[in-house]
Subunit: 273 residues, 4 copies
């Protein structure tokens, strides 16, 4: 929790080549900026709006790509699991397991992921109040896992819309676990393109800056070489060639923020048991 | 879609005796009122707020109880499934499979349930716009299942709160499939009791009446002999001894409503392919 | 509170002729249906989205038209006031004074209207919780006025959107004062047409039915001979030639609803002091 | 728009002494930090939740206090006006006129304030989408006033709750006019204390930091020597003895933010005609 870090990659694994190119580009930028980096991509998008959308290469093929990224680029990798039986398989390859936001309340999935012993990233459901995430955290802790990330990614706000409440970032960053701000899913317009979600890429950077200033420990960002041709979440993905400038600013803001302790604040929450 | 019907029962299977008593009481009332009745109860609450809450008897034992209700009381039964592998087992016993609201976007689960050939009840997620439910319906239709119920159960409205939008009832009731209004989950206060959801039982009846007047085809209601001692969703469950009066009024309203065709309305939506 | 009633008319006074034609048509229908009727139209739309929109004939000319409607058609009239100094002037002509929803919290305006001794209709602000309307009611009561209507007209729900919460209808209908449901402003899309509000006329009827079933005592409805050419709120206005059928159904629903007392309910609220 | 500034003071004028003490304290801090400062306080709270709450000294007496602050402390002052006829009187004393958020859509009030020729601060209504504020701005511009501030102060989010959408700060900061973030009204809990609004002071600072990082030009903050005894908005007011540290951090963040131009962004909006 004492160093700004980044989780980034294409939303879904489109090809090994793309994964390797994005991972090594972002890794290079992060080395230059001295920012720890975790590569993220999904082997399966299990909850697409439409049954006809691209879902990814699947568990087996996807894990192979992630393994290649890990060994070839030399960065840790994170991916999301969608069913109890996927947790163990994914844990053999990746460094961090992620619970998708829609599945944050599925006890068995959270527990199965936590039981692997791997660090887990718990995404706050769009339908949950910030303080209710602590019950999700307790589910992971209940099997002895204390290597937890919590990720804020926006909250339901009317239909086909999300809003990011920076009070959530502020509150959740007071736990013992790192609070990640997912800047690209936060600008999704769920269902906004009829058979797919739209997005407002133009707000990614402002929201990321705001979250860092409000206390976020790390940043999550979907990155693509050519977002308009991405097979998933293109409208909210960040073009690879903007990543360096964005991270430069965020790191500077992070350091400025940390120089000034907050005066008016909640008591630290969620002390581990 | 031309007859008012009811889905009701205790939220979770607490014991075989309770299930049989509730089922036979409600069945008797519904026979007297000439209302088709489906018994509902869950063998597993897979998404409780807290990891310590009661979850139910589990798949195997739960299905046995449902089978007993079915044969002994002589009513069809419905239950919800939470993982792909549960669908086939549950389909061997129950008459209708239900997809929980939080899982409405999990493609594999919807498809697995639809593939069993059983009728399925698709609950609208709290985080989905009404029109986006049609993508969920398409997922079920994609494997040839046309025996579908859609259930409205409230929408996110700030933190720890839901609101029921009767436009959703109106819109979704224009599909070829029956639209069910879930009057008790709609008055949940998610996370409102700290480690469990609260509820506003005092609004169940007004909302149910409103939904029937807005076009709902059927009613879903959690019923318990002693809601204050229910192991799940007590604060929003309806006491068994109020059910007859509530249904009497709803049936009368349903019939009055159907006498007067709506004048200003959307075109029928979601014609089957 | 023991008889279904209607408040209706064109949103804004466009011309004396239109006002007289709409008033006498609706009056005729209401006589046939035995429904008390109050004509409503505004002399000034003081809060249009755009500074360039039509605002109405103004206080003086508008009150003359309302006086003519009153005497010539023989129906009571209601209009809204927007500033303290308008209350007394309007009270000399109209039968009921209305406080616009956006101004529900302006103490001086509510008090000035209440002091005229005329009945007043307090519209619930889009930004207020139902229970907070009772503070508005207290402001009117504080100067001795006990002839109060409360009107529900939808609540903020994300951007450029409203939702009607039927719990509000249910709760507010338990006061000693009649609860009116404003079915046409409730389907407004605020700001939804760029420089004006849009509307979803297709939901007016379903929402009105739902509100009556949830306990509403009366209905408020903007009516126009040709809504597409209305100078204000056209997209949510009801065509005059649909009014009779709509009211017929609502009266039937009202009577069916009142035959069945609610079983699960809040205690009566807001007893007068 | 090229220098961070602060608007601050007690919510309502409680006494001349308090006003002078707060104004001179904050003025001293701001001089030390080289931050332009405008003193703000209200002579009348015209929209209190309850009719029994303290409203302030009134127009005449209040303007005298503001005049004294102006001349004695040597800082510009801002106050809000609530009716057309107050605009000219207030403009004779204060440096900036403010339109309250609830009244943002009242055309006559905005126009009357703009016509005085004084700079005006337009607060975004809790019920308006960010982009709809530009129609409010046009109303002021329609009479030739181009000295405008826009203030974000939170948006309706369910009942008795607000949320701050940093996209609004980002979007509105792209106009030619300074965008102010009102950090204390943004943490109000409207109606949250029964007969008064509550507040979450513990989020003031995090939200202010986030807003500055998202592009806000200035900060608005209610300040009190002893917030727990403030006659209005105590729960969200900032204690005077925390102001210096808060502003120090915000200025540092402001400067860091401005060093890094945003890459992904909306086109500049609302060019003056």
């Amino acid at each position: 929790k004492d160093r700004f870090f980044v989780i980034a990659g294409p939303c879904v694994l489109e090809s090994e080549d793309l994964a390797l190119r994005v991972a090594s580009s972002v890794a290079r930028m992060c080395r230059e900026l001295d920012i720890p980096y975790i590569f993220k991509s999904s082997y399966d998008k299990a909850n697409r709006t439409s049954v006809e959308s691209y879902r990814g290469p699947g568990l087996e093929k996807g894990l192979k790509i992630l393994e290649r990224v890990r060994s070839q680029v030399g960065v840790p990798v994170i991916t999301d699991v969608h069913a109890v039986q996927e947790a163990a398989a994914a844990a053999r390859v990746v460094d961090v397991l992620q619970i998708p936001a829609f599945l944050a309340r599925q006890t068995d999935l959270v527990v199965a992921a936590a039981k692997t012993g791997k660090p887990i990233n718990l995404k706050k459901a769009q339908f949950l109040a910030p303080w209710d995430m602590f019950h999700v955290v307790r589910k992971a802790e209940s099997v002895g896992n204390r290597r937890i990330f919590i990720t804020e990614r926006g909250t339901c706000f009317g239909y086909n819309a999300l809003v990011v409440d920076m009070r959530s970032v502020s509150l959740l960053s007071r736990s013992p676990y790192p609070l990640v701000f997912d800047a690209t899913h936060s600008v999704q317009i769920p269902g906004g393109q009829g058979t797919a979600s739209g997005g407002e890429r133009q707000y990614v950077e402002s929201l990321a800056r705001a979250a860092v200033a409000a206390g976020a420990d790390g940043l999550f960002m979907e990155v693509h070489e050519d977002p308009d041709r991405a097979l998933c979440d293109g409208p909210n993905s960040v073009p690879l060639n903007e990543v360096f400038a964005i991270l430069t600013a965020l790191k500077d803001l992070y350091e400025t923020t940390r120089k000034h302790p907050i005066r008016l604040q909640n008591e630290p929450v969620l002390r581990t048991a």
